[in-house]
């Protein structure tokens, strides 16, 4: 149990920016501790990816559950959140109080522009395995347009697209692999 706590504590400190945490979580779970193989880790990842919530936290919960049940889930979760959030929150408050500093303003402008790009790039990266699947591309574009170019709330886009997409997947069988 302490191994789970400390393991995910380290993963948390490595998870900077979108997607960074996945890299470090895989290193811990698959390479260092061999808790799961790559296939099972990818499975956990895809589950967490489309469930709601902060998905990297989901990896800690699922891996913890896999190893030690509810107690393991709590150990992974606690390691991932308590100390890192406390430290970064304190740092964040200090930064917010000093946002008048021109240099800090510049740094934040740079980081937020890059962070938005990282998110877009991570999404495109996830898209790569599906780039030959016409129906998958269609739904990616549909959701993107719905989110960016209409004033529709997210939930409306989601409730319209998800059932349609799953239905088409069931009929055409494009999810088969």
């Amino acid at each position: 149990m302490p191994v789970l706590f400390i393991g995910f504590l380290k993963v948390a400190f490595g998870s900077i920016g979108g997607g960074g945490g996945i890299v470090f979580a895989r290193r811990l779970v698959v390479e260092q501790r061999r808790w799961t193989d790559d296939r099972e880790f990818a499975d956990i990842l895809s589950l967490c990816q489309f469930l709601p919530g902060p998905n990297i936290v989901g990896i800690a919960v699922c891996v913890g559950t896999r190893l030690r049940g509810p107690a393991g889930a709590l150990a992974g979760l606690a390691g991932f959140t308590v100390i890192p959030v406390t430290i970064s929150f304190s740092l964040g408050m200090w930064i917010v109080r000093n946002t008048d500093l021109a240099i800090l303003q510049g740094i934040l402008r740079g980081v937020s522009a890059a962070a938005a790009g990282l998110l877009i790039g991570t999404g495109l990266r996830l898209l790569m395995p599906h780039r030959d699947e016409a129906m998958a591309l269609f739904f990616v574009v549909l959701v993107f347009v719905g989110l960016v170019f209409t004033k529709l709330p997210l939930l409306a886009v989601l409730l319209a697209a998800a059932p349609l997409s799953v239905t088409v997947a069931a009929i055409s069988g494009w999810g088969k692999r």
């Binding site: 489309f50 740079g110 959701v143 494009w174």
Partner: protein
């Protein structure tokens, strides 16, 4: 609209959105922005973009961190803690039970169909979410280049995202953005 009810309203809203955030918290960022910036005026657009940048730049689960910063801005430390818990508490319960079910029906056909249908929706939400953030953060062509470069690097290279954030921070600190 402010007063003692603001912290409670924010916490409940975050708890609701965290349950609806299929594909991760970034997928509901446009909705959270609408709620705290447009509808309630608790934060300015600039602050929202700053909090996003700070959360991306600091280690740890960044969306939990961002929500606790928003909570802190709205109602101090207690609201910060409540916001953090609202962001990861409900999803963690979902992760736990979903993992158990997922594990039991690993090879079922419905699981493959669900995966095939939901993945494109998830990807569309992530790319759309990043684009919405880029729109808020990018006020000039220089920062748009930073966003594009970050997206391209994460898409076509295996460079650690932290280096892109550091580079962008440096460019910003030099006053080039």
């Amino acid at each position: 609209m402010s007063g003692p009810s603001a912290p409670v309203a924010l916490t409940l809203h975050l708890a609701l959105l965290s349950i609806l955030s299929f594909g991760g918290i970034p997928s509901v960022l446009p909705d959270i922005r609408n709620y705290v910036v447009v509808a309630n005026g608790w934060l300015t657009d600039r602050e929202f973009a700053n909090f996003f940048a700070i959360a991306q730049a600091l280690p740890g689960p960044n969306m939990i961190l961002m929500m606790s910063l928003i909570g802190w801005r709205v109602g101090g430390l207690p609201t910060a803690i409540a916001s953090a818990l609202a962001t990861f508490g409900p999803p963690c319960a979902i992760y736990y039970f979903a993992y158990r079910v997922w594990d039991r029906f690993r090879d079922a056909t419905w699981q493959r169909i669900a995966r095939g249908g939901l993945v494109p929706v998830t990807i569309g939400l992530i790319i759309g979410g990043g684009t919405v953030m880029a729109r808020a953060a990018n006020t000039n062509w220089q920062s748009t280049i930073v966003t594009a470069a970050a997206a391209a690097l994460i898409l076509w290279t295996r460079v650690n995202p932290i280096w892109m954030l550091i580079t962008a921070a440096t460019v910003g600190a030099l006053g080039l953005l």
